[in-house]
Amino acid sequence: MAEVAISVPVAPTPGVFRRLLKRKLAVFGLIVIALIVFAAVFAPWIVPYNPDEQFFEGLTLEGAPLAPNAQFWFGTDLVGRDLLSRIIYGARTSLIIGVIANGVSVLIGSAVGITAGYFKGWVSTVLMRFTDLMMAFPALLLAIVLAAIFRPSLLIVAMVIAMVNWVQIARVLYTETRSLAERDFVEAERALGAGTFRVLTRHIFPHLVSTIVVYATLGIATTVLLEATLSYLGIGVQPPTASWGNIIFENQTYFTSAPWLVFIPGFAIILLALAFNLVGDALRDILDPTQQGHH
């Protein structure tokens, strides 16, 4: 019944994709993401070699890894495995963790932010004080301690990252929900007898979607970087599962004689994080008119 008068136009979402395509950097980001997703999904069919196979001809007679060449395009690693194949499988690891960890942290962040923003009183206070507390934690130290407590597996690494990363989105959504909850149309809706659930899902949440989309996109970049860092320190994704971070971890001592073993995976990490940052930033510009001109 309240459908009639009280509805505030939700941010115009149609056309977002078309507007995204007008920005060169965003298009570049989208293409990179598409290529990496493609490589990750079809990894078993496109890899030139088995990523775990140690090739006899993959090492020199002295036992050193091979530089990029016609047979092994990205060269081989310290035990003679094909680097290109490991990089392609590493894309899988990065994206799986990126999607799971970021999904969970967006869920937690949204739940905490929206709840704290909508309900006043002690619920809000407790949640936001806890968020403040998490903000003051040195994120990487926390992630390292968590990763050390639980034996790292793909899922655990994702959860550790989620536990560290939900804070920012919670803070942003808290501020937005709070100002929405005080707006007239929400007050009116409540006066008409709408229940909490209805107000939240039908009237508050739709206004938060663009913010969530922006932070979810930017969050994947943060997640990819944190996974790479944990794996580089040896407490993230464990070998033999290939991850761009642990490829560097395994080979870093030889970076002076075999720099490709560090820089090719390093470049892959930068490319993926950059792509999500570019798309996320473009989305922020498009979806949030109040931020025009502020990058």
Binding site: A136, L141, A228, Y232, V262, G266, I270, A273, G293, H295
Partner: protein
Amino acid sequence: MISYVARRLLQSALILVGISLVTFVLLYLLPADPARQIAGRSATAETVESIRQQLGLNLPFYQQYLRYATGLLHGDFGRSYLQKTEVVELIASRLPASLLLMAGAITCELILGIAMGLVSALRRGSGLDNGLMLLSFVGVSAPQFVIGILMLYVFSVQLGWFPIGGYGTFSHLVLPSLTLGVLGAGWYARMMRSSMIDVLRQDFIRTAHSKGLGRATVIFRHALPNAILPVIAMIGIDIGMFMSGIVVVESVFGWPGIGQLAWQAIQRVDIPIIMGVTLVSALAIVVGNLMADLIAPMIDPRIKLR
């Protein structure tokens, strides 16, 4: 103002108590037996048990925490399990190196970030602007260990301009500072750009122009100081980023600061050191945020203290 400061101080103190509690719980859950570690592999069960008694590891959790917290109030962070030294001394001996690195990094990121942002804002919409902004995005998208290894490879191994890691002279400081500063430079470049664009749009700049002042004078005497303040106010917030960054950067460059101390302690499960460094980092972050919040309204009176 005074009541605001008092309230924020109280909040910060509570946050620190919260952090000490959460960290203590996490480390309590670690699947490790410190008593066994201290005693060594060949120790008898009785020795291990007596060490456990001595350290109070057999007490219930809340008593262990109270014991630790009481110590903290007296400035006692406990003793390292493996190095048999007071944690306070270990941190104190490593802190100067980390502070030096942080000062170097702040210098790098301010110079790089402000210069990039300034040029971008003045050449808004040009190819140079786009290039610099893309570069700033690369800066915030690059993991610090990759940048660090890249710097080492190019400037130390190939060009031989700087030593490969270590500590002591100015040339040891350059690469780690740059590495730690790249991330912040990316953020500052974008903030500086938008801040400068905002200022250039304002009336007093138009007035300055119409007074007949030269372009350089308007930019450097009138616009820049106004645009730079909000950027500098962000340094406090940056401290969180540094505290995470030093763990990685110090281990890449063999820099003897608290980041490396923490990382070594984590590998050896030396719990008192992990606790100590976490608390010191959290303290730095809390103080940084507090400073940022107190400085912001001084710079921009439109921001009100709440």
